[in-house]
Symmetry: C2
Subunit: 449 residues, 2 copies
């Protein structure tokens, strides 16, 4: 099956563009899957990204033909669909001339997020249209700084955040969206900290009002956000965590701080929670959507809050599943304020992508880095895949095999090197991809009925 | 106009009932407005109230015929409609035999709440069907204690909370729902503290997450909850309060802590707030409902929360207004979770009447009494009316003349005594009731269009 293959590596010399030259019609066209590629400038869609959030690629204002060109690997979404739509390309371009406030980062590790699985299926409206280099978070070393950048210097190890474009060996980002890494933090940890921990932190402490003695239901407790949320719950006294995950992950998540692990595949989590806590829970973090939101709402204690921050129930197979989407949409919680009053409950939505408050990002990252230094949080790296193994990486997350963060490494894989994986399950995926994949999709389908 | 008249005083000797004797058909019938009354036992509806929350009246289990009978005044809702549906009755009954956990309170002051205006119109589902003695809060002195009551004694000055039945000279309440008053607290203050401050406190600190530097929109900022919320905002550093009230009240609410008073009658409060804070506010407390909920939602900053805790927009005239109700219902905010995610906002509902968590009540009251002792909160008494003046009291609140709490006093008014009022406006109401009433209703109508 072609959709199960790894990404085709494409050699793609980037043309030097004259400033302000409109992109040719050819360069606008989505790249073909054949592996041969037109010498394309980046699509104009990238220009439409919010400047503060976007990785500034390509260096449209960098025509210096005399400089040594830069060659780099990038993972590009070439269209919407299955795993094969994400392709590894090698780009060549003139060394970028940084604008004021920008820095050039040599990327060492990148985070894979559920949003990128959605984006590949065409379900994430914040990513520019393909072709586009994906990736919202990464870590690396600063190679150059633009004007007016006073608090970053060449050689600084930083975490970087962007709306897209972090999955490449070098990236131009706004210095405001970089955060200095503590010495003891690995690049993998740095890449794992941003999206998952910021999401978990803002939900628990900015939206909800997590305080001593409260209880929290964390779905997908072994996922990136799940583990981050569980760790953050440990920073508050006497918080009870209910965490759903398949049974094989229970030991790990229990060690991580989940008080009551629940196997959502074999048990009704609503019943399980009611057995332990008849009154329900104070906070529900809901990345699933659809009927699970209704269940979560029903589980809330008076004065409790459910935060919906995803619609993972929309994603079943590799490609967009209209039936799953329709079901999720149909079952989503609809509310009027009278109903809320009678139950004394709160419903909220969270999506980091729609937050544009730079101060909030800065404040949250400072808090998180401080908690890291104090040893109170520590990203759990599930596995690291080189760019050429991106299909395996996506598959691992899609099939919920991961316990913690899945990392992508820009540097080429050495011939003899196996994928770095902390979990035994990682090797199963490699050996027996297709079989596991099919089994899982059946399970997922069955489970949602 | 009969509906503008004060309540008819009714002499109503309460029959001594044999235990377990079913009430006669006559005693079940709603009392007539004629002023003459059948010797009625309390209606069976009262029995259906949750025991912890209800004032145990009448003493169905108190048949001791040899004891000296108790005669007391009570404000009884005799049917749904205008002001004239609340009647002052004098009841006579055997001295109640307290059940375990109960205390008998000689009531000195009662609070009037917006809920009672709604209840009179038949818009408050938590009050038992008429005829029923109204009143959810009061203060007084303990006259007798039942078995198993160890932390209350005869002579204790207490605040008492109930689902209904506090508007009478003596009330039997659950000891759990009484709270010892600090020495320096007047009975009026005690009666003003419970509902308004608990509502404001739970909304700001349990549901929302009020922290230093946040901003809050408080509608009806001169009302009971409004003033309580404003004072509670002052207990947190650097909180900005936007408060709506008519211009004549601005000086008072500004002194009370409102940073930006807004005359909602002459200005668009959304525009006014945007002028001062283009990004909006963090918390909206919304007692209005309908289109104001939509406006409040639109004003929220990302990660902000609107709490709907009433539907004052339903109440225009004296009687149930189907058009206003339909409008409020039609315009109420309806949400799905996708929309919430894209805006990073939270919507919640609050209704103290639906909260049954005794520990939460106890904890909240302790906090409030502590804040009172520290001088950080102090109920503002707008005016005090004797039971026979209940129409004026309701009118004052209905027409939003009050700045702070309207209190009802069980003790009979002395002939020469004027109503106790802190506000000059109070006397206007007395002198020129009908004129003001009509003018206000027009204004309210115009404003809601």
């Amino acid at each position: 099956m072609s959709s199960e293959e790894g990404p085709t590596q494409q050699q793609q010399p980037e043309q030097e563009k004259k400033p302000d030259e409109p992109p040719s019609a050819a360069s606008d066209a989505p790249q073909q899957e054949s592996g041969s590629s037109s010498p394309a400038a980046e699509p104009p869609a990238a220009v439409a990204e919010p400047p503060a959030a976007a990785v500034a690629e390509p260096p449209a204002a960098a025509p210096a033909a005399e400089e040594k060109p830069l060659s780099f690997r990038a993972l590009v979404l070439t269209g919407h669909g299955g795993y094969d739509k994400v392709k590894l390309q090698v780009k060549t371009m003139a060394k970028p001339k940084l604008k004021a406030g920008e820095v050039l980062v040599r990327v060492k590790a990148c985070g894979l997020n559920f949003a990128e699985l959605l984006a590949r299926q065409g379900l994430y409206e914040l990513l520019p249209s393909p072709p586009v280099t994906m990736g919202m978070e990464g870590s690396g070393v600063i190679e150059a700084v633009g004007e007016d950048v006073n608090d970053r210097k060449v050689g600084d190890r930083v975490i970087a955040l962007a709306r897209s474009g972090m999955w490449q060996e070098v990236a131009v980002v706004s210095a405001d969206r970089t955060f200095l890494m503590p010495e003891e933090m690995s690049f993998e940890e740095g890449a794992a900290l941003t999206i998952n921990y910021m999401t978990a932190y803002m939900m628990l402490f900015e939206m909800a009002n997590l305080r001593p003695g409260k209880s929290v239901l964390i779905h997908m407790a072994a996922g990136g956000v799940g583990i981050a949320a569980t760790q953050l719950c440990q920073t508050v006294q006497d918080v009870t965590v209910f965490g759903t995950a398949s049974a094989s992950k229970h030991e790990t998540i229990t060690q991580g701080g989940v008080t009551h692990p629940i196997d959502y595949r074999t048990k009704d989590y609503v019943e399980e929670i009611r057995k332990i806590s008849p009154k329900g829970v104070d906070i529900v973090l809901d990345p699933l959507g659809g009927s699970d939101t209704q269940k979560g709402y029903s589980l809330l204690k008076p004065l409790g809050m459910i935060i919906v921050f995803g619609a993972a129930n929309c994603v079943t197979g590799q490609r967009k599943n209209l039936l799953a989407m329709a079901k999720t949409w149909y079952n989503q919680l609809s509310l009027n304020t009278m109903k809320l009053m009678q139950s004394n409950k709160a419903v909220s939505g969270f999506h980091l992508g729609y937050i544009t408050d730079e101060q909030l990002f800065g404040r949250t990252m400072s808090t998180l880095l401080e908690l890291y230094k104090q040893g109170k949080i520590k990203p759990r790296i599930d596995s690291s895949y080189h760019f050429e193994e991106v299909t395996e990486a996506m598959k691992r997350m899609h099939e919920r095999q991961n316990i913690g963060k899945v990392i992508l490494l820009p540097e080429p894989k050495k011939e003899e090197e196996k994928p770095k994986s902390n979990a035994e399950a990682g090797e199963n995926v490699e050996k027996n991809d297709a079989a596991i994949s099919e089994k899982k999709e059946e399970e997922v389908e069955a489970e949602k009925d």
